[in-house]
């Protein structure tokens, strides 16, 4: 309420009362570990892609694998194939893949200037988020079309990355608006161990639109994207990716205190990598009802998703059986946030999930939030989450022909169970007027049924994937920001984790517990934002990441910097540098990793 009082009457008239965020309460009193990356943070950091923007979240672990591939995760499990416990959404559309439960970041290149904010939740997402919200949820929200009326173009050029991004939007009648955008880029190859090119350069194009139409409190959003990118490959075989999606959302307030929300989307992509072809089509429908009644804030709803995929492997013998498959997932959820006293609330939530790979999973979520004083919040949470088996978990098999005989090397794990997580978390958040804030969260995660690669019960071939590992991790995530002067803001973040996993009795793992990922014990970042004049921005972002244990990759410290000058109300020129401290460094232990290079970029942005 005080926040609203402080707004000017013009700002009050601009407030959006309908939003894609699934929670009814504002972020300030959300009982979870959430970091919000604002659109302004993204622009000022000079980030050139979504994973680069995600480096700004202290509660995420981001590793660049090569020019196209990234590992992004929260609370451990870093690795190109092991980062499979994160749910990532773009405007409500889920972008993790049923092939391996991870995200192909190279398929998603929206215009970063059109991002309103990214909410990064570490820990099992609330009840309200869909499947795969195990270690965290990344919710990417683009700007309402009404906020992007007019034209904007951004051009970048420099050593490793040349791109242009163009957007044009206009209003539709008195209240509605639409926009279209197109983005093209060309990214240079990174380097290998011996200093040669990793030959992983790539280029691509993405275009899309968004329309926001409202009347009498109803709000309809229609959006879609289409993309195509192609790349060289170290074996000389080119590859390419393409895809498109369409999403429609309708928000209908049934009274001042209750809202109905309906969303449906279709998404399709195809990847051609080396001699493999991977294709996924998703059709998803969700409904949600928010209602406030007395002391209760209730959200409940349901969702259903059908996916059709194919993975055709002409490169080696590791194939999916069946090659093509249709999967479905359904969930039902309900959550009630009860205000017990004006300063204490309890949230009780339950999600019920069923897929054709699992039986009924009950995923409860209990949270307590206490405001000991104005601007402070103490919270506690208990929750359970599961990772639905992916196609690789269940259907991957390999048969080799040796001496004229078929020898099964890997048998499919038709009984592979969902990996599960039980989490206890607590946190403290405090705002110091407008001068600063701090946020601390601690967590204890118990995992069960983690993936192992075992010998057959007879001790030989065929090997198979099993749920042979369990264990725990605990850690601390803390961040804060302070306004040291009206022209100088500083923020810092720290992320600590301790992992201890073990094989269950009688089990073996040929992957040597590799599916727990390769994580640094600690990560630290410091960001300084200067505004020496109202037309000049200077940003310095310093990060330190500890060593990775297995395979051993040395830790590193790096600095990104950006200097921008608004030469004219419609023109901004900037120069930015990424990874300035060393000519090159490694971030990830994947077999095909490349060295991340120092780069300098020039940018120009025009409004028209």
């Amino acid at each position: 309420m005080e926040e609203l009082q402080r707004l000017s009457i013009e700002e009050l008239a601009e407030l959006q009362v309908t939003s894609v965020s699934r929670r009814p309460e504002s972020l300030a009193d959300a009982p979870a570990s959430i970091f919000v990356i604002t659109g302004r943070d993204i622009r000022r950091s000079g980030a050139r892609s979504l994973p680069e923007a995600l480096r700004l979240a202290p509660n995420l672990m981001v590793q660049q694998v090569d020019s196209r591939s990234w590992s992004v995760t929260a609370r451990g499990f870093s690795g190109y194939e092991t980062a499979n416990k994160l749910l990532v959404l773009i405007d409500g559309r889920s972008i993790y893949t049923t092939l391996h439960s991870g995200v192909f970041w190279e398929l998603h290149e929206p215009r970063l200037d059109d991002i309103e904010r990214i909410e990064v939740v570490s820990g099992p997402g609330w009840t309200l988020y869909g499947p795969n919200a195990v270690n965290g949820v990344v919710n990417i929200i683009t700007r309402n079309a009404r906020d992007t009326v007019g034209g904007s173009a951004r051009v970048r050029f420099g050593g490793a990355h040349n791109s242009f991004a163009l957007r044009y939007g206009d209003s539709l009648g008195e209240d509605d608006a639409w926009r279209v955008y197109v983005r093209g880029f060309d990214r240079a190859a990174l380097g290998t161990e011996d200093g040669n090119s990793a030959r992983d350069g790539w280029k691509g194009v993405q275009a899309g639109f968004r329309a926001d139409i409202g009347s009498g409190g109803d709000e309809i959003t229609l959006q879609g994207d289409i993309f195509h990118n192609d790349y060289d490959n170290v074996f000389g075989v080119d590859g390419d990716n393409r895809g498109h999606n369409l999403l429609a959302r309708w928000i209908h307030p049934t009274s001042d205190a209750s809202t109905l929300e309906l969303q449906a989307y279709y998404d399709r992509f195809e990847r051609d990598v080396l001699l493999t072809h991977d294709r996924l089509e998703t059709f998803d429908v969700e409904a949600q009802h928010n209602i406030t009644q007395g002391v209760h804030e209730i959200v409940w709803g349901a969702g259903g998703r059908i996916t059709r995929d194919a993975f055709i492997n002409n490169l080696n013998e590791f194939k999916l059986d069946p090659v093509r498959r249709r999967l479905w997932m359904a969930n039902l959820f309900a959550q009630d946030r009860v205000t017990i006293t004006p300063t204490l609330s309890a949230t009780l939530g339950l999600k019920v999930e069923r897929t054709n790979f699992t039986g009924i999973e009950l995923l409860p979520n209990v949270r307590l939030a206490w405001q000991p004083r104005d601007g402070a919040l103490l919270w506690l949470a208990f929750s359970r989450a599961v990772r639905t088996p992916s196609r690789i978990d269940r259907d991957l098999q390999a048969t080799f022909v040796i001496g004229g005989q078929d020898v099964q090397f890997l048998a499919p794990a038709k009984n592979f169970r969902p990996e599960s997580l039980t989490a206890v978390e607590a946190g403290y958040r405090r705002r110091f007027g407008t001068r600063g804030s701090i946020n601390v969260s601690a967590y204890y995660h118990r995992y069960d049924d983690l993936r192992t690669t075992a010998l057959s019960p007879q001790g030989g071939l065929p090997i198979r994937l099993e749920n042979g590992m369990a264990g725990r991790s605990f850690g601390l995530e803390a961040w804060g920001n302070a306004e040291l002067a009206p022209w100088w803001q500083v923020s810092a973040g720290i992320n600590l984790i301790d992992k201890k996993f073990h094989l269950k009795p009688g089990r073996n793992d040929l992957a040597a517990m590799g599916s727990t990922g390769n994580d640094p014990d600690s990560q630290f970042s410091l960001r300084s934002q200067f505004n020496p004049t109202s037309k000049v921005d200077l940003d310095l972002i310093f990060r330190v990441v500890d060593d990775l244990p297995e395979p051993r990759i040395k830790g590193y410290a790096e600095l990104d910097a950006r200097l921008a000058w608004r030469a004219h109300p419609r023109i901004e020129l900037a120069v930015s540098g990424h990874n300035l401290l060393h000519a090159r460094h490694l971030e990830n232990g994947h077999v095909e990793r490349a060295y991340v290079r120092r780069t300098i970029q020039f940018e120009a942005r025009f409004g028209f």
Binding site: L12, D29, G217, L348
Partner: protein, 182 residues
């Protein structure tokens, strides 16, 4: 509501266990739309000129026929002042000019219909505010949620009859102004 026994069973048993049911009704954070309307009602005071208010009198915002919104306006008005007068909020079932309210929000309903209220306040120096697509008549200001935002219409003919001067800033923010070509 979902009829499944799972949903109806769980929160009830937990609620009884923690003793939540016995407590008096307390409100959760108000829905955003109500909070915005309440904040507007208090802020309107600074963009309209009334004929003089008695020196020690509070600036009165009266909410007719909506006790829930009245509570929200009370928290919006906490510590606020208009033209040097502290803002006070009154909850009424029906309004007459003698009630000496500067701003009146008319919800209609059992106590007094919107039309009756507007008639009673005809010509009085009161800023009448109505709300919603189903209101039978509009006051000087009328709330309208459109384009995902809470906006309002201005009736400047009614404002003139009430001898109120509406600032150009408020007129600029309005979705429409009746009685003036835009």
């Amino acid at each position: 509501m979902i009829a499944s026994p799972l949903w109806s069973g769980l929160p009830m048993t937990l609620a009884v266990g923690i003793g939540l049911i016995a407590g008096p009704a307390r409100s959760a954070a108000p829905p955003l739309v109500s909070a915005i309307k309440a904040t507007y009602l208090v802020k309107f005071g600074s963009y309209v000129t009334w004929p003089s208010i008695a020196e020690n009198a509070p600036f009165a915002v009266c909410v007719v026929g909506d006790p829930v919104l009245s509570d929200v306006v009370e928290s919006a008005a906490k510590g606020q002042q208009v033209a040097g007068h502290p803002v006070s909020v009154r909850r009424l079932d029906a309004i007459k000019p003698q009630d000496e309210c500067q701003i009146v929000y008319l919800a209609g309903g059992q106590g007094q219909s919107v039309i009756a209220a507007l008639q009673a306040l005809e010509g009085a120096p009161v800023l009448t505010v109505t709300d919603g697509p189903h209101a039978p008549a509009r006051g000087t200001l009328h709330f309208d949620v459109r384009g995902g935002r809470v906006r309002f219409h201005v009736d400047s003919l009614r404002a003139e009859k009430s001898k109120l001067i509406i600032s150009s800033k408020l007129l600029a923010l309005a979705v429409s102004v009746r009685g003036r070509s835009r």
